[in-house]
Symmetry: C4
Subunit: 216 residues, 4 copies
């Protein structure tokens, strides 16, 4: 399996899943009060959309950063990647459920928020599994220095723990859990991962090979 | 992040979003009067579909024209691009809402048209942000002459202002606002942007590199 | 615009549109009689699905055969291609409408079949427009001999006329119009187009360039 | 037709179909009892989702393993591939139907499970047809040794027979048939196909050509 098709398929799934999030944006239609009030009432849909879009968008960025460091693929990676995608594809469902129940009587809201945060946790775990796979047997183009591995491992562990905290938070306040998930996104947008620093993901001019593929 | 995968993911999102527009095309089904009358009654769906399809199609063309001038990518670009896609993905929703309320009693129609035009404005602003990002620090393959930058900036500002006018127009007449959005599309189809002139986007024979990638 | 991204975007739209056809496959669910009877009653959905899937699949094959002969792209081609895609994306809607009304009282069935056949006609016309565009100004990698152009033109004209006949047939019998559309597909599966003969689309071993892109 | 675009289109269809599976994940919403009970009641949706996601994921892996051994494509392959995709696209429908009826009174559950297993059988047959196509006329980059062909043929026959058994099993117990389909997936995850052994699909470092396409 060449990496190109693995990335193409993953990109396709990411792109469809992120776009299906918008199917959760709805209004009730004529006969359900003024449109402006309907739009106002549906704020949980918009909030959940923005957080989930950011989450999938960031996991896509990180997925790419990680895969470009791989020297090879094998069946294990293919199936770990399918596991990650199986979780990503669930996001439109958990997002829709959270949006529906965010302002519901408390117990249902707690369950919906815990379900949502669990999807984040499952995604973090699947992503960590891919990262761990990559550390063995010359699977990376350039070996990552042990210090970098240690820091990246800490960060993955940290991310995983934050989702565990969000699950706990769900049983206190569903909106707080949604905010918690959103803060994870904000953190990833503004912080550089050691991994990306290690592999020089950023601010890199188009390489000659890149230009060969995409003529100017 | 190589540009290829950024484009592939963006193309995926554009392709899914543009296709989901068609989910708004519906008939009520048996028991709701003759089909021919149902089709006639639903003209706002078709009008909104054509305008939104054109808008996303044109932004896709412009997105490509712009990205092919970039010499490199960085995390800032990735997230600005996600911001643009977050707006693009919202189009099926605002299109559906506009189609539902276009012929509704006036206040709801105004709100729906203002919502629709606001999505156009948000898209124009996100696109401008990507354009501005590209002007700094040798991010372009070939620097754009200042005169071209000035003209392109004017055009982006112009496009943004037209959407502001469409929002204002929404509160006069929803169909007029839809026509306004459609006229923006017509303008972009028939006019060359200075940017595309500058980067020689058009009428260019397949380069040798292109042929190497796509065998004849 | 390099051809690669035009094809990638088009492929994305074709892939999403062809997959959305399956959203029309449904059963009514518990409480609407035995499942086996529901499946039997819904035969128009399956028939319409198979015909529309074949139609989009074939236009995708032909789209590719045509584009690979092009030496360059320009804005006109981009917008003609968007026009073609705008019609392709409408297929899930017209397919669903035809399936719903195929066995309805005659007038509605006639309208639904005429709508369906009109989408086929629009697709044929948009495709012809792209073909005609390609014949001017050295737009092809290798010029097509006049004899081939004449034969291809005849075939396009023929395909267009068949859809006109299907529209007429719709007002006699909706199922007959669906069969007519299906026969067009069967014809294209088993017959070689002069165009594809001309450009040597078939039975061609992977060229060295192809191997370079997809390592064995 | 170069293989690259055939793969890209197929990947697109696989990606959309696998993601649409998640549209079957739903809750009934407020007014239908506590959310936690709704989630519990809907376990057939989750079970069917996991099995179908795995099935499409695996067929995607196998599709890629197979296509990379092909030296050329022709119209026959294109249409056999469309046939395979036509079956893949049906999975969200049969999955949704099975999930709806899995716990229904027995006759409907049997029909839903037989429908589901038939889709698996149709997919296996379409895949075998593509495999058989590849064995003739120098269609492979490297000829597969007869012993490998024999073993691969046995395995394909075996997979086909297992689906026939699942269809029979459907009339005994729908959940057992779902488990049967899931076991086929588990088998394919953990076992190497002779085909993949023959073509060296696994554990292969990125070739120089691969690196040329995806700059490190």
């Amino acid at each position: 399996m060449d990496k190109g098709r693995l990335e193409a398929f993953s990109d396709g799934v990411f792109a469809v899943a992120i776009t299906l999030l918008a199917l959760n944006l709805t209004v009730d239609g004529p006969g359900h009060g003024p449109l402006i009030h309907q739009l106002g009432r549906h704020w949980p849909q918009y909030a959940a959309y923005v957080v989930s879009f950011s989450t999938i968008g960031i996991i896509w960025v990180n997925h790419h950063s990680l895969l470009r460091t791989f020297a090879k693929t094998d069946r294990t990676l293919l199936f770990l990647n399918l596991l990650l995608l199986m979780v990503v594809v669930v996001f439109p469902f958990v997002t829709s459920t959270l949006a529906t129940y965010l302002t519901a009587p408390s117990r249902d809201a707690h369950v919906a928020a815990a379900l949502y945060s669990s999807a984040g946790l499952a995604m973090a775990l699947a992503f960590s599994a891919i990262f761990r796979w990559s550390l063995k047997d010359d699977r990376l183009i350039e070996p990552v220095p042990p210090e970098m591995v240690r820091r990246a491992t800490w960060r993955f562990t940290g991310g995983t723990l934050v989702y565990v905290v969000c699950i706990a938070l769900s049983f206190v306040s569903a909106p707080a859990a949604l905010v918690g998930n959103g803060l994870v996104d904000v953190y990833y947008v503004f912080e550089q991962t050691p991994l990306s620093l290690a592999s020089g993901t950023t601010d890199e001019p188009g390489s000659p090979e890149d230009k060969r593929r995409r003529p100017p």
